[in-house]
Symmetry: D2
Subunit: 382 residues, 4 copies
């Protein structure tokens, strides 16, 4: 597919994700981590305007003088911005104005891509990947918005969060030795996947299936949320402060566990992979199960043999720079590097990761208490 | 006007206030004190359903089984409710559904009023007054929502917050003696205006005009916001914690003071009454001016001689029960009495108080730090 | 008694209150309202140095250049000060140094008083009353420090918090009419008791006895802490946030209510007056009892006929200036006036109020949630 | 030295550290991370009582039934405990009672050690190392208590925080390859140093000297605290929220930088190693210097060639389990493992680390914002 076609296709898919929404759903921000869909639509558009059109397209006139201020997410280098926690207070610009903004930028981008200089291909590629990341966030943020509404409205009644259940609980054995970790540099990757380097691993065994709802219910029945022995100290404090006693979106209704999914409130299927689990919960479960999470290096070494892509899989690795990591100069350099503290790495991809976006070297990362992503658990023995 | 006509007229006016809004404006709640317009539309409708239709109209079927839960504001006696601070997270029900709710309830109310028993007139009267209170809040909340949007969109470009400027700065002298305070009991009043009782007042002098923007700017130039001597201890702490150095909605742009009004961002007119002033600021200004705020009793005693109704006027009286005050039985008893602590009384009315809603015995009340209402300052000597 | 003798006697009594303490008890500040005893010893001494010696005693040299900074409590006019919430972090100066400070200042004060000019008598009188206020606080703060220690050490095993139990539950009837309220101006009073003025009161009946522990237990058994109907809205929020379900210092041990008193942990006597009650609790109790708290004016009007002085008695009056109230010029003007918001008036005195300190016009005041003072409840009918 | 002599010597050294303190210094807890010295004295004693005497000494009678509750630090497995943030509110037990407690436990321990079974040697060894860790904390906590007192009292005027200045700024080159990391298992180590395992390292260069005050002042002069480019996102938020613009204990006095050291307030020596630096500051400095922090593995691989032990050296490694790490069963298992999230590893030792306590495999760990330990910076190139 040509870059132009890929651009069009990605931009179009963003709009498609929003199609089932009511206008009011575009506006709200129930917690700081969840952005209003309206904001995602504008921010991804701003990215093109800020890093491509206003830099490389001669004579480009910005759509609106204040939009850079409104829709910058976290790039300190390109000036002041609306605080993340106030995104949900902005009723204006309206959805209509933002859709006009998208059309305006798309028109300019489509012309630009057709005759752009070679050196801009990398930033366009980054923009496509950036927009795909926000497509995943759109899905998870919409789920949070609807799933925390007291009326529990479905997003799309035909949405299936699980396509195939987990059945093969056997383990894959991996040998001790030196493994090559990180992206080769051919084709697109984020800077945090670089530089490819050697890592020495002990032998280990990793399970082929993800942990299921049924297994997690066993943990709960065995007092998993009540026994501090299983928990990291910070995890136990988090659980106590937030009265956590089940995965996110789970509701006990007339003695049966239900969960809100994008198709609405449903009884839990014990064979589906458990989802919306924080790192703290994943660690506690592993401790209870007398196993452990893989490191991100073990995960990557084994990935060719695993069916991954259903849930973002927790690893026991903190999000840190690889040897030889360097930040790009300027605002794009703020993309990844400055978040390399206090977060844990997740590997793989999820049911709402855009097709083709992830790869075995991809490093996702979140704070250990967060649960609104489609996260899951895979365990190691030894 | 018949009760039915008054009902229709009030309900219609609520819709009229919202007419200039965009759909997105109906949803947001930038601070806990400001409710989304969508919520006001639903809550005022719920009041009729809860306290009139479901109690007195035989066979009435509620529009939606969950709406009582969603749109109860603070009546503990009628069951659980959505926390006030989460109103802005509820994208559903949509505006359209809420307008349907209004139509449904109006249809039933209009039938009901035409043949209702005499003993329900009081609760219908209360409902009308309740909706008028929310009309004022709609105006102030809309102002907050738009006035805190970085684009400063006007509400209605023809809206005049001040009709006549303040010019007669002379004082009215009132004699020492016993005054009758509170509502006589004839015609409608809120329970907090009862029982009429005697109050002994010393002689005092009260200014005929409100404090103007020009006078307030003098206070600011004289270091009013920098000198702790003028401030109550709690006021000084509030100022320091929130970096307060001007009235709400004031912005210094190129060395000139502007303010956001419902018609947009405008240069300040020194002859208009200063507005959006907290009790703390009103006290500091009075201290600087070597005068004082009136008590609510002084205000009421002098009210027949004053041109009031432009701004809610701060008094130095705490909001407390009058002698002989009793709460109504049941949820309606939660209307006023349970707020009688930690608030100060304001008297009069404002440019956005519905015509005919207020009277000289009316007691409005807010916490001393709040500023989003159309408040103003009138001073006493002696 | 001569002023010199009164000075000596008051200063000596402060030391006497501290006599049963261990050195460690002087240092801690478990909550922001409770100051370390060491701080009280120093702050009362600083008052003499700041407002008397350094102003009126020629050639007086301060004991230590930094002590004014360390031991100023809230007087903005005399320069910066250690934040109130950090008093408990100051291990230095040591108790010994503070006792030296007291001796030094006493030596100078005793010389000064013997030959002081007439116009300084008022400030010396104020200093004596100021130190007496801190004597009461020393008692209540020591109770808080020891009563919140997990070992519950007694302060003095022979301390009796109640000398006579409540027995006469009859009511005193007071006539409607004009009463004179406030201090006559003869003899010492605080500025907040001035100016004497007329208040019109309806007829009312006030109970001769305070509410007892036994009566309060009835309220508790009747679900008083579980029923929002009885509570002010802010009171209910306070109760929920702090999990309040009994008066301060009460502990249920093997199904019996105990309370920590200054003589240690003891079974509760149902005939003693209930103590350590917040305004919120007092209001809820009154509501449950279908009675009400007196206003501070009713209390004062009836005071000659009541046996008061056992507990600080809650009134339904907010702490506000009397007609004609004026603040003194300078730092002494910060004594009372700047606290006249968000607090309620208490009248009478308590078991730990120094003898002769209070009077029937005395106005004590606290925030409505506070409970560490020896407060109690007296009710009115009608 | 025999185990008994080592026990005596360590216990004695704890007392020696406290010798210069005033009684009041033993009580306070200015921030949650800093414990009162009194608490350290008791907690280290409780460790012996809880994990040795009450488990292994037949007929041992605890000194006081409530002390386990009072002086447990974080071991959930041995029952409830006083919340860490309330340690500074406990005036009782007094210092004297705690010294009696120490004497009582020492008496029993000294008898016990002389005839103890072999299998208890490990827990005694752990207790000795545990007490040494608290000796370091005693030093850093005392520094915080005195260094945040407005009088800046010295701890010991002859205390030298720096024995030798930093002069050799050359770099040590290390080869690419497999290195053995972690403790061999011979002799004492903490569980977090196990299991020894292979790590593959790229070649790197590490500086022989620590970063000096002089170098750090250059960073400050170059706007290091004002430029978000140098900072991790969380670090920048921390800096903004806490108004950080210099290392902890630094004070600008008449245009010269001073710092509080254990010998008092002194002018800064540019050749001394910069100290009391958070991980965030260390990262920002490295970014500014266009270098980086070593990983803990690089540090350990190079350690034989470095003069370490002056300051705890920040590494870029998160505190995570080594391959094969297992927690001990029971309360002792809570020693390290449950803290393995949200913390960064520091290596080496500091001027207040007890002699012989640390080693090249030792892993210290703190949250990235903390500064009250004697931390420093060593950088890598490449």
């Amino acid at each position: 597919m040509s870059l132009l076609d890929r651009y069009k296709s990605v931009r179009n898919y963003t709009a498609q994700i929003c199609a089932p929404l009511q206008r009011e759903d575009y506006v709200v921000q129930p917690i700081v981590d969840v952005s209003p869909p309206k904001w995602h639509l504008a921010h991804t558009t701003w990215f093109w305007e800020e890093f491509v059109l206003s830099k490389f397209k001669q004579g480009y006139k910005r759509f609106h003088p204040r939009f850079a201020f409104l829709f910058n997410s976290y790039y300190n280098a390109v000036g002041e911005r609306v605080l993340r926690l106030h995104r949900g207070n902005m009723s204006r610009p309206t959805l209509e104005e933002i859709l006009d903004y998208r059309t305006y930028v798309d028109r300019h981008m489509e012309v630009f891509i057709q005759s752009m200089p070679d050196e801009t291909a990398a930033i366009v590629e980054l923009g496509i990947n950036h927009e795909q990341q926000h497509q995943e966030l759109l899905n998870t943020d919409i789920k949070y918005i609807l799933g925390h509404n007291p009326l529990f409205p479905p997003y799309r009644i035909d949405f299936r969060e699980t396509e195939i259940n987990e059945t093969d609980h056997s383990f894959l054995d991996m040998d001790e030795g030196i493994y090559s970790i990180g992206h080769s540099g051919k084709g697109f990757s984020f800077d945090n996947e670089l530089v490819q380097h050697k890592v020495y691993l002990n032998s280990f065994s990793i399970r082929k299936s993800l942990i299921t709802n049924g297994e997690f219910i066993q943990f709960m029945r065995d007092g998993g949320y009540q026994n501090s022995d299983y928990w990291l100290s910070d995890g136990w404090a988090w659980l106590k402060e937030n009265n956590i006693d089940a995965p996110l979106y789970w509701h006990k209704i007339e003695d049966a566990w239900n969960r809100y999914s994008l198709s609405g409130l449903e009884l839990i299927d014990p064979l589906e992979p458990v989802t919306h689990i924080s790192y703290y919960e994943a660690c506690a479960f592993a401790e209870w199960k007398k196993m452990r999470l893989p490191t991100e290096f073990e995960w990557e070494a084994a990935s060719a043999h695993l069916e991954w892509g259903k849930r973002w899989e927790h690893t026991s690795s903190a999000y840190l720079p690889y040897p030889g990591f360097t930040k790009a100069v300027g605002a794009v350099g703020e993309y990844n590097g400055k978040f390399m503290v206090n977060q844990m790495v997740l590997r793989g991809g999820s049911i709402v990761t855009p097709r083709g976006h992830s790869r075995s070297t991809y490093r996702n990362f979140f704070q250990p208490n967060l649960r609104w992503q489609f996260t899951g658990i895979r365990l190691c023995k030894k």
